[in-house]
Symmetry: C2
Subunit: 211 residues, 2 copies
């Protein structure tokens, strides 16, 4: 039994990469069990260190969740915003591109797990809810609102409430993701790209100013 090679150390120092490894592990664990039922010990095991090791890098379990929001979702919101802002001169086209980008995000079950968890713990961690609202939702929402308003100003879109229009863009895609990923609902016959097209077809026809 006793392996002669006494070379392998019991553990290695990897202070640089630990935070990311812990977040990777936490994402998988939280997605599977939800925030409350997920055990820090399991996160640690998946990240290949001890539970106490996790607490070297994060002050608490909810700090891990905060880290997850920052790393996983906030960049996506910034990206959506960039796509929207880059297309202010072609609102209809930009709308489609935003829909496609958001669909790609929502198709990623793991990324979608973060908003689901935020939603479920929002009441108990008001600061997490606030952070998420300000840095994710309001970012994405306001970008689209600006896009719609630009379209209306240009006369491309007919006058409408931009907040409603924005929810009509994000809402259906988001609930489709929740329904299929977490309730195991039937995704339907369409491919993601076809869904984007079917969706934006209806939405744009509803928005566009008939000549």
């Amino acid at each position: 039994m006793g392996q002669s090679a006494r070379e392998e150390p019991k553990w290695r120092r990897r202070a640089e990469s630990r935070p990311d490894e812990i977040l990777d592990a936490a994402l998988v664990t939280f997605e599977k069990d939800g925030f409350d039922a997920a055990r820090v010990e399991d996160v640690a095991k998946k990240a290949k260190l001890s539970k106490a090791g996790v607490y070297l890098y994060f002050d608490s379990k909810d700090a891990i969740l905060r880290g997850l929001i920052e790393r996983e979702v906030a960049p996506v919101a910034r990206n959506l915003r960039a796509v929207a802002e880059a297309g202010m001169d072609d609102p209809a086209g930009a709308l489609q591109r935003v829909a496609a980008a958001f669909t790609a995000l929502v198709n990623d079950k793991r990324k979608l797990a973060v908003p689901r968890i935020v939603l479920s713990v929002a009441a108990r961690y008001p600061d997490i809810a606030q952070y998420y609202r300000e840095n994710v939702l309001e970012q994405g929402l306001s970008a689209i609102v600006a896009l719609i308003e630009a379209g209306v100003a240009k006369g491309v879109f007919r006058p409408c409430d931009p907040g409603i229009a924005a929810r009509m863009l994000f809402g259906p895609i988001f609930v489709h993701g929740l329904y299929t990923h977490f309730l195991h609902g039937d995704p339907g016959p369409l491919s993601p790209a076809e869904r984007v097209k079917a969706h934006t077809d209806i939405l744009l026809k509803g928005l566009l100013a008939s000549r």
Copy 2:
């Protein structure tokens, strides 16, 4: 101190009304704390009996959640279905009425808490997820799908994927509810009725066959 009146019994038998009282209490408690953080003891206290008393009527904590789904949400889905079926000869009008009914449901924070909780525990209680999907979501969804298909068959709506259209009806309303109730997002300037109107204006214009 010693009240002479020895009339008041320490508790009363109320086997008939207990289950509903427990569900009332559970709805409030689950809404506030979420399923995991909610304590059965608190539910019991709010229902004015002991924790052990709760277990006389429900086998487990998750049985309470199941009871909540049955009592709170399944009837709503049936109602939505009825509204849709009653309006098969006027698809556009029925769509608006369904949107209004769903908006009313979603405006009720307490009722909306049930789907939020189902979503958060779906992975750990697959039977709850399945029950919810089959008895709530698929009910509502299929009713609207039928309505859209009827509209397309009549030539009132232009051809489209009815699943997408149905998600465009429910999605924006649902996410608006989540956003305002649980993330404390800005509900915007419109009243619920105005939101329904703005929403269905765009949706119907997107769906209606231009003469």
